[in-house]
């Protein structure tokens, strides 16, 4: 019994240290109260998002403006959609910006997030080697293209990391009634940039989001094969983490972020992003 009590004591001690630290932290944040009605105080907002929004430079383009407007400084944690949602569920972040509609709906249904909003969409394309062993170049129907790749056993590199892109790809295989298996189907479990690099090295096909493709295409040789199919659209949503599940999250900031992204100004900036750098728009704003 005494052992158990000891253990309890240790746990209590550790907890109280954390508590003290937390209180001290809060006090610190509040004490230098800035002049009223001035957004001089920088409040920190934690955002978990997918690598695509970070890698394309979209966030670097939007966030300084958001900070200027609201006084919130955003710390970005760029991971796969799966992990971003996981972070939201654990209350490690205040808001998530991801692209996997089914997983997003589940996140909201289970009460981890509230008030999901459409923000924008981009699209995916299939890229592959110029000699096109599966003969899919220009094929308008992505399902047929996937069937041809499987038919020819042409090498295909899959993210295989449960990310939004990976879920999209798995969804297309499923819709085409194909179970991708065998030596030709290469699951690498890495990010989009790494997957692009490996597909290029292996002269394989892969599914890629347009933003990453445009940002990196000059480094590699793979070419666009299939694009424009409705099955290749990729909608993004922003979801504040539910403060009822995690009282410590900054719900106010998260809502401000969601509102800003879907505001006229945020939407206009999203639509303009990339035009000067890539000669085409990367994301299409679609907030309602």
């Amino acid at each position: 019994m005494s052992l158990r009590r000891n253990k309890l004591g240790v746990i209590l001690a550790i907890l109280s240290i954390f508590l003290l630290a937390a209180v001290a932290g809060c006090a610190k944040e509040e004490s230098p109260a800035p002049a009223e009605n001035k957004p001089a105080e920088t409040k920190v907002l934690k955002l978990a998002t997918t690598t695509s929004t970070e890698d394309t430079g979209l966030l670097d383009y939007l966030l300084p403006e958001f900070t200027k407007d609201t006084g919130y400084e955003v710390q970005v944690i760029a991971v796969g959609t799966g992990q971003a949602i996981e972070m939201g569920e654990a209350g490690d972040v205040d808001v998530i910006l991801v692209h996997s509609r089914a997983a997003e709906d589940k996140f909201v249904e289970e009460g981890y997030g509230v008030d999901r909003r459409d923000v924008m969409y981009n699209d995916f394309l299939i890229i592959g080697p110029a000699d096109d062993p599966a003969g899919i170049k220009g094929e308008p129907d992505v399902l047929k293209a996937f069937a041809a790749i499987k038919e020819k056993q042409a090498p295909f590199v899959s993210r295989g990391d449960d990310s939004g892109t990976d879920k999209k790809e798995k969804g297309i295989w499923k819709k085409a009634n194909i179970t991708p298996e065998g030596d030709w189907y290469i699951e690498v479990g890495q990010g989009m940039g790494d997957t692009f690099r490996m597909a290029d090295e292996k002269k394989a096909y892969t599914l890629i989001d347009r933003g990453t493709y445009l940002a990196l295409k000059d480094n590699y040789q793979l070419e666009p094969m299939v694009e424009g199919s409705p099955d290749l659209l990729n909608p993004y949503g922003v979801i504040p983490v539910n403060p009822e599940k995690h009282p410590h999250v900054d719900f106010e900031g998260a809502t401000a972020f969601a509102e800003w992204l879907t505001s006229e100004k945020g939407q206009k900036m999203i639509g303009e992003f990339g035009v000067d750098k890539f000669g085409q728009q990367l994301f299409v704003p679609d907030a309602k």
Binding site: G80, A90, G189
Partner: protein, 239 residues
């Protein structure tokens, strides 16, 4: 706290059930790292001994270089091997990138300096007396050298353990040159990265446990070896 306990529980369960993928990943890890270790030993031990026992110009520069390479960042080793093996690189025609062979090459690059450097240190730590005694007793040059190597054997074993510990726990190089391809080049460390990124913490912990158990087993083996070797010899004791 809950997530760690939960992870440990599920982790042990996964191992207990002998999940096919985890078994595959574990075996590949062992295969790659042990192969790399054998090659590193074949290069590193003779080279280390030669560096310790012979005097020549530039010896210290070479030793210093090797000591520096002992701390070579794995991801840099990976990058070098990647650039050699990429299809546009000098060895591109052999199509070794993203194969276990590429991972072995990268790990040899990491392990060989450790084996070489620590062997050299172990041999240099022996006094001149060992050689002199052997020579006095009528040993040929070759025999005396062998005697020295025998005396330094525990240091060499320690070198091998250190090298194995480093390569089996290394993630940067194998991720780059192996590519973490499922069923082909996915090893314990790259699995942990992937599972963590996917939020599958229990699987990640399970694989972490395997990694620790392997390290523990290696050290147990060394300890047993050490005991047997020194059974009839005097070890230092404070009385």
């Amino acid at each position: 706290m809950e997530i760690i306990v939960q992870g440990l529980k599920e982790g042990f369960l996964l191992i207990w059930q002998g999940d096919a993928e985890i078994v595959n990943v574990t075996l590949l890890s062992l295969q790659v790292s042990l192969t790399a270790l054998v090659i590193a030993a074949l290069i590193g031990i003779p080279l280390g001994a030669a560096l310790a026992l012979r005097n020549f110009r530039g010896k210290h520069i070479i030793l210093n270089t090797i000591y520096t390479l002992m701390g070579l960042p794995p991801v840099l080793a990976g990058l070098l091997v990647y650039l050699l093996l990429t299809s546009r690189g000098p060895l591109g025609q052999y199509e070794l990138l993203f194969t276990p062979a590429a991972m072995v090459i990268a790990q040899v690059l990491l392990a060989a300096p450790i084996v070489c450097g620590l062997t050299a240190r172990a041999v240099m730590a022996l006094s001149q007396e060992v050689y002199d005694t052997a020579a006095t007793l009528g040993a040929s040059r070759r025999q005396a050298t062998l005697t020295i190597m025998r005396e330094a054997r525990m240091g060499i074993v320690a070198a091998l353990t250190t090298a194995l510990g480093r390569v089996i726990a290394e993630v940067g190089a194998v991720m780059l040159v192996g590519g973490n391809i499922r069923w082909h080049t996915r090893v314990l460390t790259t699995s942990i990265v992937l599972e963590t990124r996917m939020g599958n913490f229990s699987t990640a912990i399970a694989i972490g446990i395997i990694l620790l158990v392997i390290s523990f087993a290696i050290n147990l083996l060394i300890l047993a070896l050490e005991k047997r070797t020194f059974r009839y010899e005097n070890t230092i004791q404070i009385t």
